[in-house]
């Protein structure tokens, strides 16, 4: 139909689709799934870092971490709002998370085991997220694109703070340096996996055609590895991959084979924290039911009073 042609033309011209524009149902569904997964990831992602707020070793670091986790809540809010422009409600999306129907980023099913994990999450996990997200700033759906611009800016800030935390620890005692190395050993491969399956095994070809996804998984992953190896050198940590080495011919770093069994195990629910993460979110939601009901009931009472007074 004419609508479809107009949509295709806009995409082809690199223009933005807005909430009120016509869009194919599959495009809408794909976006809802992707944006809400991203929102859920922000929300669940508050937990592994939140685990260390009460134990942060200095007031400055405690404040930085609090601010960061608060930002993640904010990202969740923008993203739910972006998803809502597509005709779903936040509660609906959230219930899908809590019931286990909707996914969130698998990376948050790994535990935060020492203070350096907080730095490494900033450096590697936020770093990988940024690589993934920068192309989304130009994605074809306007509200999502604009949310991503804002989010990417804050994520870069978080990444620098994480790296700074690690630099401080590497300048410290042998115990502190061991913590950093231990954290890097645990988070390196999961970070690499954040870019998803290899292009040859990847199924979301429509998202490329629609201008949602603009760079392939493997290209992003390579870009991340190339950028990170140098940062690791500056930091003075080794990356846990014996096959990692510069390939002058390709102009890139080669790296070892990814353990995709591990990746799919975690995606399918068998990571170390899948159960605890979801349980924490479900408990918060259930424990808070009376609060949400009270807020609704109070708003209702107030509306009645205002109507009576009018």
């Amino acid at each position: 139909p004419a609508y479809q042609a107009e949509f295709d033309a806009k995409i082809a011209a690199g223009g933005f689709i807005e909430a009120k524009d016509w869009m194919p149902e599959a495009y809408r569904k794909t976006l809802i799934r992707q944006i809400s997964q991203h929102a859920h990831s922000e929300i669940v992602g508050m937990l592994p870092e939140g685990n260390w707020i009460t134990r942060a070793p200095s007031l400055k670091r405690k404040a930085i971490l609090l601010a960061k986790v608060q930002d993640e809540g904010g990202h969740g809010l923008y993203l739910y709002a972006a998803a809502e422009t597509l005709g779903v409600s936040r509660d609906e999306l959230y219930e899908a998370l809590l019931s286990g129907k909707a996914k969130y980023s698998s990376i948050f099913n790994y535990p935060t085991l020492n203070w350096a994990d907080i730095g490494v999450i900033g450096w590697l996990v936020d770093g990988a997220a940024i690589m993934n997200q920068i192309p989304l700033c130009k994605c074809s759906y306007g509200p999502y694109s604009r949310a991503m611009v804002r989010i990417c800016k804050e994520e870069s800030f978080h990444q620098r703070q994480g790296y700074d935390l690690l630099l401080a620890m590497m300048r410290g005692t042998p115990e502190q340096r061991d913590m950093v190395q231990d954290a890097v050993n645990r988070w390196w491969w999961p970070s690499i996996m954040m870019f998803g399956p290899h292009d040859k095994d990847s199924v979301h070809t429509e998202t490329t055609r629609w201008g949602i996804k603009r760079i392939s998984n493997d290209d992003l992953r390579q870009k991340f590895v190339d950028a990170t190896v140098k940062q690791a050198e500056v930091l003075g940590v080794s990356l846990p991959d014996p096959d990692l080495k510069w390939n002058a011919e390709r102009g890139h770093y080669d790296f070892g084979a990814i353990d995709w069994d591990e990746f799919w195990n975690v995606v399918q629910g068998h990571g170390q924290c899948n159960v605890d993460r979801l349980a924490a979110r479900v408990k918060a939601w259930e424990d808070g039911a009376w609060v949400r009901e009270a807020a609704l009931e109070h708003a209702r009472k107030r509306a009645v009073r205002e109507k009576d007074a009018a």
């Binding site: 404040a63 609090l66 620890m169 300048r171 808070g288 009472k301």
Partner: protein, 256 residues
């Protein structure tokens, strides 16, 4: 620099009380992260915690300078014994549920607001500056928590009962806010800050109308007394400190 040798012990203690209130309540509120009833409140509680930790940093840094023994904010925050903390007992009580959390934030912010207001005119210029900055934050906390007190009190039957129970539980600890003591009088005479027992009228004026609007019953005063600001804490404090101090105690001397 001259302050170093001239600060009276009462002056240092007074600033420690202010700093420890912010520190310990900030610590408690930070436990909420990721566990609040709605996302907006996850953020609001983290934000309040962040404001309070920010106040604690300024106040403890100042207390350390007044003391002149080279202790910085982190040494004061993480390396004192329990009896050397000077926060109000109210600040260290467990969060329990969202009801008790917002009622406490409300009762506490209603105390911080008139206190910081008066402190903006402190003869201690550094303290006056911190108070001016923090006053805006405390006002926001008061308004935000006050709205929740009203929503819960005048919400459902369940929320009303929970809000009332929270108020009944917390109220006896507010007597400590105003308990008279010599250091307050000395500090007040020196123009550093108000004697806390002079703040009760302002506090009630902020608290009571909101409780009334929330359809909550203002509890009666009882002989219950707590002593956190004098360094004698509740059973909850030791557990809070075990968590808060763990890294500094386990890795003495490390920089982070």
């Amino acid at each position: 620099m001259t302050q170093r040798n001239t600060a009276a012990p009462g002056h240092i203690e007074y600033v420690l009380r202010l700093g420890d209130n912010a520190l310990i309540l900030g610590q408690r509120l930070s436990e909420w992260c990721g566990h609040a009833p709605v996302l907006e409140e996850d953020m609001a509680l983290a934000n309040t915690a962040l404001d309070l930790i920010g106040q604690a940093r300024l106040l403890l840094t100042h207390a350390g300078r007044l003391e002149g023994r080279g202790r910085d904010e982190d040494q004061l925050a993480f390396l004192r014994g329990e009896r050397d903390y000077r926060n109000l007992t109210l600040a260290e009580l467990p969060n329990e549920d969202f009801g008790r959390t917002v009622v406490r934030n409300f009762l506490f912010a209603a105390f911080q607001v008139p206190l910081y207001q008066r402190l903006t005119a402190s003869s201690d210029a550094e303290l006056a500056a911190v108070a001016a900055k923090s006053l805006k934050e405390a006002r926001y906390h008061l308004s935000h928590a006050g709205e929740w007190v009203i929503r819960l009190g005048d919400g459902t039957d369940v929320s009303h009962d929970k809000a009332q129970a929270a108020l009944d539980y917390l109220w006896p600890y507010t007597a400590e806010f105003f308990a008279a003591n010599p250091i307050d009088d000395a500090v007040s005479a020196a123009g550093i800050g108000p004697a806390w027992h002079n703040l009760e009228a302002d506090w009630e004026a902020a608290v009571v109308p909101v409780l009334v609007e929330a359809t909550l019953t203002v509890p009666a005063r009882t002989p219950f007394a707590s002593y956190g600001k004098f360094g004698r804490h509740s059973e909850h404090m030791g557990h809070l400190l075990a968590t808060m101090q763990t890294m500094q105690r386990t890795y003495p001397g490390a920089q982070w």
